[in-house]
């Protein structure tokens, strides 16, 4: 192979970084200067990067997605799945309605059941419930499990995850070896966090401290903290959850802050992150591919971590 030396060197600023090692650490003032010759060699075009090949390289389970009461749902979700190589999506219709009666959650779950029956190869179902209705919720777990759902979908803001009302539900989910998955936020003025700021949210929205609390009470439970990219303060989330080994986070949400994934892996370890979109599909993949995770780590996050936990209940996808 005829490698043009100049072109080879020219590929990268990274090459230059070797020469300028650490220069950017000196702040914004002028980094060290290169010789004219080095400059010349380094200033041409970068190599082409084939993004879609990278995207398609990894098997993926989307651990947090939703369907809607809309004509284009779940068609639109499936379309993104196909476009971006997402093998399975764990869908639910989250209970974004108050008070969240049994009638309401059954209706929401019926939508999910219909979808997973129609697209069994691509969709996995998660049920929703409201622990304020204990009997009905436990019955709903049975009904949905019988219908083929793999566990709870994104449980919502009717009751905090560490509220005693949740105990019997959580105990049931532990018994069924299911992942206990709940919505969460981390924003000034929400769910009890620095309430002098008013975030205008439901008061029982779960926050990271609530997960720490319930995870300590049920060390055998497997908890999924929803969407570190959901708009909240992901540094706060990861720091709070760092020492709760049975709390996993999903990477979903419309926010794709640079360094979020690296930060989460640094604090939580490479086994406690699940790839997920929360229907922000581009961001969900972009943020992981743009991270500094190794290929093995990316594989874990995109697929293995979640699948390994599904295995515990025999619900794994392969």
């Amino acid at each position: 192979m005829n490698i043009d030396r100049r072109k080879f060197v020219s590929r990268s600023f990274a090459g230059a970084a070797g020469i300028l090692a650490g220069s950017h650490l000196k702040g914004l003032s002028a980094p060290g200067r290169l010789t004219a010759k080095q400059e010349e060699a380094l200033s041409s075009k970068p190599e082409k990067y084939d993004l879609m090949r990278e995207v398609m390289k990894y098997r993926k389970i989307d651990a947090h997605a939703h369907i809607y009461f809309a004509d284009n749902s779940p068609r639109e979700q499936l379309d993104f799945g196909e476009r971006l190589g997402i093998e399975k999506q764990v869908i639910s219709r989250y209970l974004s309605i108050m008070p969240g009666t049994p009638e309401q959650f059954r209706e929401y779950n019926d939508l999910t059941i219909k979808a997973i029956k129609k697209y069994p190869d691509h969709l996995l179902g998660g049920f929703v419930l409201n622990p304020a209705y204990k009997k009905e919720s436990l019955e709903e777990i049975k009904r949905c499990t019988d219908a083929g759902m793999i566990g709870p979908g994104e449980l919502y803001y009717q009751v905090k995850i560490n509220d005693p009302l949740y105990y019997p539900i959580i105990e049931k989910l532990i018994e069924l070896k299911m992942i206990i998955f709940s919505h969460a936020e981390c924003q000034l003025g929400v769910g009890g966090y620095r309430m002098k700021y008013n975030g205008y949210k439901e008061p029982n929205t779960s926050i990271p401290e609530d997960f720490v609390d319930i995870a300590r009470r049920y060390p055998e439970g497997i908890f999924q903290y929803a969407h570190i990219g959901g708009g909240g303060d992901w540094e706060y989330m990861c720091k709070t959850l760092q020492h709760s080994p049975n709390v996993y986070v999903d990477t979903s949400g419309s926010n794709n802050a640079e360094n979020m994934i690296d930060f989460a892996v640094e604090l939580l370890g490479e086994d406690r992150l699940f790839f997920a979109s929360d229907n922000s599909y581009h961001q969900s993949i972009g943020k992981i591919l743009a991270s500094n995770l190794t290929e093995a780590q990316k594989k874990k996050v995109f697929f293995d971590n979640y699948n390994n936990l599904l295995k515990k209940g025999g619900r794994n996808v392969d």
């Binding site: 230059a16 914004l28 980094p31 200067r33 949210k201 581009h282 993949i285 972009g286 991270s291």
Partner: protein, 268 residues
């Protein structure tokens, strides 16, 4: 060819950023195949005297030919702060800056402030684009010291409606609208004006989901690749283009999005 029309160096005072120098951004560009980036200095959002930030950027780019070849600097101008007219001249004539970025919320003036109108008219006359953005970071993760436009509260984040008045005021200027993260809805008359205006939007915004439809409704010449780096990850803005299917964007359209529209808009 790939041109990123929305990138930064500098600091965000409430959170450590990675890849926020010319050197580190350049490595990002090389790793992911980006040829040129339009950059401005984040510090200019926070310095009262934004010219100090523009000078920092000028000095940083000046240090290497690679930077000069690969970065197109934009000036941060605050039109309600003393001396901005002189600063703008200096940025263009001495620092070689190719456009202006303004931050009405951070710099604390209204979108129809006479000073902003004066600045945009001046930019128009100097043939410089003026870049607005919806927001810098998601308000739900904001620091307690950050501005308090917060989603889902009575003082919400901006939408296109909040930016549009300046376009209406100076319809013949060139605009960049970056990090499109909320509604693009306008009333019918305004939408018609907006469609006629010379506007380039970038692909970094979190609400740009169905790019295929947007290309149909907005036109394929009104979007260009942008990252909002280093605040947002480097690839999502690119993925919104590369993941388009042939029936949504053919090869020629994708090239427009990757660099053609940016080149044309900026006269590069």
């Amino acid at each position: 060819m790939l041109i990123d029309i929305n990138a930064y160096v500098g600091h965000w005072p409430f959170m450590q950023l990675k890849y926020n120098t010319c050197e580190a951004l350049g490595q990002r560009m090389d790793r992911f195949g980006v040829d040129v980036s339009l950059i401005s200095n984040l510090n200019g959002i926070f310095y009262k005297n934004t010219q100090s930030a523009n000078k920092e950027l000028y000095e940083e780019i000046k240090a290497s030919k690679r930077y000069r070849d690969r970065f197109v600097p934009f000036a941060v101008i605050n039109p309600i702060y003393a001396g901005w007219q002189y600063d703008l001249e200096e940025c263009v004539r001495k620092f070689g800056m190719k456009g202006i970025r303004v931050y009405p919320k951070y710099h604390d003036y209204e979108i129809n402030d006479p000073s902003l109108i004066e600045l945009v008219k001046k930019a128009r006359d100097m043939n410089l684009p003026v870049a607005f953005n919806y927001k810098m970071v998601d308000s739900r993760q904001r620091s307690w010291m950050d501005i308090d436009y917060v989603a889902y509260t009575p003082r919400p984040e901006w939408t296109l409606k909040n930016i549009f008045p300046i376009i209406k005021e100076v319809p013949d200027a060139r605009y960049m609208i970056l990090n499109v993260t909320n509604s693009m809805q306008l009333n019918e008359a305004d939408a018609a004006l907006f469609n006629k205006a010379n506007v380039l939007m970038d692909t970094s915004g979190r609400t740009l989901t169905d790019m295929g439809s947007l290309l149909k409704t907005q036109g394929k010449e009104r979007f260009a690749f942008g990252t909002h780096s280093p605040i947002l990850d480097y690839l999502t803005g690119m993925l919104r283009i590369e993941a388009l299917r042939e029936n949504e964007a053919d090869a020629a359209t994708k090239e427009l999005l990757r660099s053609g529209n940016a080149k044309k808009f900026l006269g590069l």
